[in-house]
Subunit: 623 residues, 2 copies
């Protein structure tokens, strides 16, 4: 992978930063955030502005270009990747390391006095604007909104914004109709005494209306906003997808409905002016509810006194707690996913020794097996198929320049998942197709101990997930090891593979408490730059736990693994496991056998079944 | 303990809330925070305004009085105590429970439209003012500073502000001279480009000048402020204590000094006007550094554009990392403290069966034994001497009305500590002088497992203490148990027994990373209302840890117990301990024997030595 040459682009950008056609006054710095106008993590090609200007295409990163400098902030998952993809015009700012300046501090240190810092107000979240603006102001600079996106002005071959057909989901998938979701939302609005709710996140629009799309790769969402009043529903969406009879029927667009359930369809681009009209027409005490991560542009459309901002919207919180239909769907999806992976690993085991399987071939094969499963829609993220040193690049994606051949001498890490109509999967397994070294087994076993420590944890109702993060690290810490990423993220139900408001990460404090029905990943790892990467990831469901006592009647919770793919016992140093951990592995493998075995049998996949049976033989602990 | 009758007082307060002599406009609510003008946790009698108005005298709590209501917010440590001490005029707001409203939300729910909420601007920290003011404003109310403290206007027999003599500490105790501390502070100021630093916390003033006082019980501090410029030092302090030749010599008040080390002594009460003068004379870019917890009054004295606010001051951070002289002092203090407690427990063992030892007698006896030790100054907090159900009142202090007699049938919990000239101690032991029940032993053992999990934890350099909190709870959680307080707090060196910026608590996110030399407590517990309380607390020193590997060369840390008092083995269910935990207890007891045994021998305390030897017999695990 050679870095993108950005000298010419940066020159052009620096020119438009001074061009009165685009900026009222010259800006001395321009911020290019990661997201789109919906603060999405996964974005459409037309929104990949940061990747365009810098070459770095990881999922998280913020670029800032000044007259003299170009700097990129990203986190531990992407240090290696960013360093590879960016040319020497760029300085990599490693977030999370002690000496890395914040964007604000860095700007203050490099800007000439009284500078203007520009940013697209549709792309920057309001909370970030506020923080950045305050820090700059206190140092004598100004953060200014630049209406026209300056990257777009120099991006001559920028792709069009996608506008693909929609999928409607019936009650058997969603458990709750969109009408009932609107009713529940309005009751939350009444509780907080707000009159309007603005839906800005794409997955929240999709969830609310029980619709899915394919405007953004991997995430089954579509470009839309919604504004929900106590008596009105406005959906801002483009294209002829509203002409689809199935969609019209689903949304009851042509039915005679009570007015409060009548959906008004409006052009996507009219959200700002419509919201400004809402803002202008508010009477005192009529509040408008927005996420504090909504764009600065939309937030500003509502006068400050009328805004009700929360870090998590009621939709985000409701969406996170899966109902019975969604949970059952997630279970089915994970069984199908396990079938595909049993097929894959059985195939890899035979093919790898031949020296013909590259990372890309393996990733394609994984997709092929998944696509054979019922209700498969697409992958849920770019498959991380990495062997040897590539495994240490935490969010690696194989491309021809880096594509490595799997061998019996290197560890192979596969982090992959799919969107099925009934659920979203995300699983990581780390395998060795030869004989792992004692050191590799040792590291793998520490990671496994961390995985089990979280998965088997029992904790009081109302515990925030971030309080479990250290459990995943304890065994690694004991030996002086660690990993530079969080331990888990929320997972959507046929929706985004990363979703809030819960997770398991030391980086977050403001996560919502875990409750039964929430679904998160459990994925500790260990990475050695230049050598190998290890990660063990299951998607787990929060369930009530039975405990001997019940302090203050709070009740307890624990996790049930939804992912049912064998963990390679060859990689385990059994002597490092406690009896309890050993039993956990054996019980997990027993469930894989029972549940996935039955499905392999049903699908007539006998060779994969034999592989499963062999891989799920109980561990025997030498005492 | 009968509650304080507050009907008449509340009536008087409500009158002055409308009295134009004290308020420009009537205030519909008045906030009475816990702290003093220095945001101290422990306060002088003249500052106990919240206790005066409500009767609740725990260390944390905020009272709000409106025309109709009186409400008290406090945390889990004080739920029972507050309920006992307050009469029916008061509503107890249990912080940390799901359905408890915040002060802001509650105010908004009870106030009539357009209300004014008053507070003493010297008592409310600036950060709290900001949050509260914003929330009230967005609901149409106003937070207003009321210059005269309204409690003081109705508190006819309010005691005088204390003004006791000072103690000077030489290099053998402090390790660093006050001059060198000023030099270090100025270099931190230069780094951040600030010209002035305002010292508002009493322990920070004391630490900076290597002085101690006794204006506040338990905390060896004195009422003072300091304002440090790049070339000036101003100390705001009252009374004739500056006449003391030892103090004059220590501060070199009569020596010919370089001007930048010449201390200008000014009246305590002149801080506001002096600071306003500083604020008025600032040129652009001349910043003034304050804690964001400094009072609203002092913060407002500096125009907003010139303020540099941080959650922790450079003094707070420097003070937390103990140097070799301080660490050695703390070690000595803890050995002396252990000697006193060995004497006490030996004495209790003989006396308790006679039925003559009450909680107060035991607490007094503990103080008596401590006062026999060299350099003893005073206790470091009110001794928590509690037996049976009183043990469940987390910050219980025995008073005649509640005073219970120790017996061989109930658990006894003693949480106590002292100030010695060389260090501060804080230790909790839970004992049974008869035969504990299986359930009591079970709970004790879970608490012990939590204590060990923290104490023996190995974690990377730079880890924040709050990430270790769950380790202390894991064994309790497994059985559905928990405790409603944090696990540890920073401990000063002959200073406040609670100090920032580090700690071990799930409630904090903004603690500073742990580093070698920091000293914190490790004190998990378990409490059953109406039955018993268990807590096991050691003060521990952060030290470098040796590990097998060293990821990213970050280095690892662990804890070394400074407290060396036996943990009652009679209370331990050995079968619930792992081998590692069992070894930890045995090694801990071996060190108690070795170190404290030698000191008992030296002091000729042979009976207590025999007690120590018996109590530190190794545990034998039945496999």
């Amino acid at each position: 992978m050679s870095p993108k040459i950005t000298t010419e682009l940066l020159k052009q950008l620096r020119q438009v930063m001074k061009n009165p056609r685009y900026v009222q006054e010259p800006v001395q710095a321009y911020i290019v955030p990661s997201g789109d106008a919906h603060q999405s993590e996964y974005i459409a090609p037309c929104d990949c502005r940061r990747a365009f200007i810098s070459g770095f295409d990881g999922s998280a990163g913020t670029a800032i270009v000044t007259e003299q400098h170009a700097a990129m902030w990203t986190d531990g998952r992407y240090f290696l990747q960013a360093a590879h993809q960016m040319d020497s015009n760029w300085t990599l700012m490693k977030m999370g390391l002690k000496d890395t300046p914040t964007q604000e501090d860095w700007l203050v240190s490099v800007l000439p006095e009284g500078s203007k810092v520009g940013v697209d107000p549709f792309i920057i979240p309001a909370d970030q604007w506020k923080r950045m603006s305050k820090a700059l102001r206190s140092a004598g600079h100004d953060l200014v909104p630049v209406k026209e996106n300056l990257i777009d002005t120099i991006w001559t071959d920028c792709p069009q914004r996608p506008c693909k057909p929609l999928i409607t989901l019936d009650l058997s998938y969603t458990g709750v109709s969109w009408r009932d979701k609107i009713v529940a939302l309005r009751s939350k609005m009444a509780e907080r005494k707000v009159m309007w709710f603005v839906v800005t996140a794409l997955d929240e629009v999709a969830w609310l209306f029980n619709l899915r799309g394919s405007d953004v790769e991997y995430n089954p969402v579509f470009f839309a906003y919604a504004v929900i009043g106590m008596n009105t529903i406005r959906l801002f969406i483009d294209g002829d997808r509203m002409m689809d009879p199935a969609v019209r029927e689903h949304l009851q667009l042509d039915s005679t409905l009570e007015p409060e359930f009548k959906i008004q369809v409006m052009p996507y681009g009219s959200i700002l002016s419509e919201l400004q009209a809402v803002g202008a027409g508010l009477s005192p005490k009529e509040k408008v509810w927005l996420s504090d991560k909504a764009s600065y542009a939309l937030t500003e459309a509502i006068p400050k006194a009328y805004r009700y901002l929360t870090p998590y919207t009621p939709i985000c919180i409701a969406k996170a707690v899966k109902n019975a239909a969604e949970t059952e769907g997630m279970r089915r999806a994970h069984i199908k996913d396990a079938v595909a992976l049993c097929e894959l690993f059985n195939w890899l085991e035979k093919e790898v020794p031949k020296g013909t399987v590259t990372e890309i071939v393996a990733a394609d094969k994984a997709e092929e097996f998944r696509s054979q499963q019922k209700d498969f829609v697409e992958l849920s993220f770019a498959t991380i198929s990495s062997t040897g040193p590539n495994g240490a690049i935490i969010h690696y994606k194989p491309v021809p320049e880096t594509n490595r051949t799997l061998s019996v001498n290197e560890i192979y890490l596969l982090d992959s998942g799919a969107q099925y109509k009934d659920g979203t999967t995300d699983v990581t397994r780390t395998m060795h197709f030869g004989t792992p070294s004692a050191y590799e087994k040792e590291c793998f076993t520490y990671v496994l101990k961390g995985h089990i420590a979280v998965s088997a944890a029992i904790f009081p109702n109302g515990t925030k997930g971030h309080l479990l993060d250290s459990f995943a690290r304890s065994a690694l810490w004991d030996c002086g090891l660690d990993y530079l990423h969080g331990t888990g993220h929320g997972v959507g139900s046929f929706l985004n593979v990363h979703e809030g408001p819960c997770g398991i990460s030391y980086k977050t404090f403001a996560d919502e408490p875990l409750e039964a029905g929430m679904i998160v990943s459990d994925e500790p790892g260990y990475y050695e730059d230049g050598s190998f990467g290890i990660r063990i990831e299951n998607v787990v469901l929060v369930i009530p736990a039975e405990t001997k006592y019940n302090f203050k009647n709070r009740g307890s919770l624990t996790f049930e693994p939804l992912t049912l793919v064998p963990i390679q016992t060859k990689m385990i140093d059994v002597n490092l496991l406690t009896e309890k951990e050993c039993n956990w592995v054996n019980e997990y493998h027993r469930r894989c056998r029972e549940v996935v075995g039955a499905e392999l049998e049903r699908q007539g996949r006998h060779e994969a079944l034999r592989w499963l049976l062999r891989e799920t033989e109980p561990l025997a602990r030498v005492q």
